[in-house]
Symmetry: C2
Subunit: 205 residues, 2 copies
Amino acid sequence: MRGLTEKQKRILQLISEHIDTCGFPPTYQQMCDQLGFSSKNAIKKHIDALVAKGYLEKDSSPRGMRIVDPAYQPASLNESAVPLIGHVAAGFPILAEENVERYVPVPRHLITSEGRYFALRVRGDSMINAGIFENDLVIVKAANVAGHNDIVVALLGDEVTVKRLIVEPPLTYLKAENPAYQDIIPQESWTIQGKVVGLVRETMN
Amino acid sequence: MRGLTEKQKRILQLISEHIDTCGFPPTYQQMCDQLGFSSKNAIKKHIDALVAKGYLEKDSSPRGMRIVDPAYQPASLNESAVPLIGHVAAGFPILAEENVERYVPVPRHLITSEGRYFALRVRGDSMINAGIFENDLVIVKAANVAGHNDIVVALLGDEVTVKRLIVEPPLTYLKAENPAYQDIIPQESWTIQGKVVGLVRETMN
DNA sequence: ACAAAAAGTGTACGAGCGTACACGGGATTA
DNA sequence: TAATCCCGTGTACGCTCGTACACTTTTTGT
């Protein structure tokens, strides 16, 4: 993977931009028009050079190209998106479409193999000692069980809460990471919804 | 934008998966093969229905489709990737290609218009009271100046550090968010490299 | 029970796309 | 001066893709 000429860089950038804008790579003709060329062959030669140098992969059908170099990657392919659960409507399962506010990108290696994931906006400051602040988004792997000391998302009645799970047989309870809060030893039935595997903070003020 | 039939959902999902895998949408023929159909028209009708319902946009050239519904958005288009700066080689500008370790996806709305951004892995626990832990990735907007109370990335000699910027004329200094650390009132020359605008935590242990 | 919508097959066609080949010009190097 | 890249033009060709039309079957709704 050696150096690129200026024109070749321009081509890569053009492809990347087009994918960002339209969701798919451009045709040779479109790139011609955009660069003011009048022959598709100018493009083809650059593309061939890029393939030869390993920056691009091609399959010879229309728009059939894929950028290899991560520096020019449009936006994704090493990443994935998980649904951000907004207000949880009572009665609905937590992952129901009705609850999805938007989607949050996360590094793909957080999303190991299969398993459903979601994001949740944190309310309150009960976990500040674990570095989880109000309005942070926690990335959660859906699960019904979890281990000792895992940070989990639990459902108590209608309320969704993020706490540390403490397993000290015969006792299992939820612990806040903030001395101002007491442990929660639920009387009513409660369920684990998932395990926190990551965090995204979008506001720094 | 009304309800979809099961088959139509399947089609949307198929397109999304293909984009994830290959970087561009499939052709009608490819979708046929994958679903075991023997006529491209089956696909075309579903696609037309999806367009009519507003879930898809089409331009009548090969692979020319774009998913509108965010729930089926492949992985990107609402997100962007910023370079993760690994070890900073002395002498190199911080954003030099040599320093890039990999790319980190972040929500696009963090990346306002133009301006260069990067990510940095946090070393040490000097900012724990701001909820910034060791090994967290801070998302940084490159800048040479910053305001009072901003969390900034500063370069002191060869060392890159994350601290809160305190502007109390005539004094300007860096403050750690951890009582165990003292304020840094640099004698030598130092520069602001950028302002922290977000945070990503990939490890929760 | 009847009509309408959804789902799928088969054939044929025209246009757009990638490709191949021949050609010209400028810049750098031996 | 010749050789070699890099860059662009022009023409022609064949294949693939999206599209249109006719027809069948199953599911849904009133």
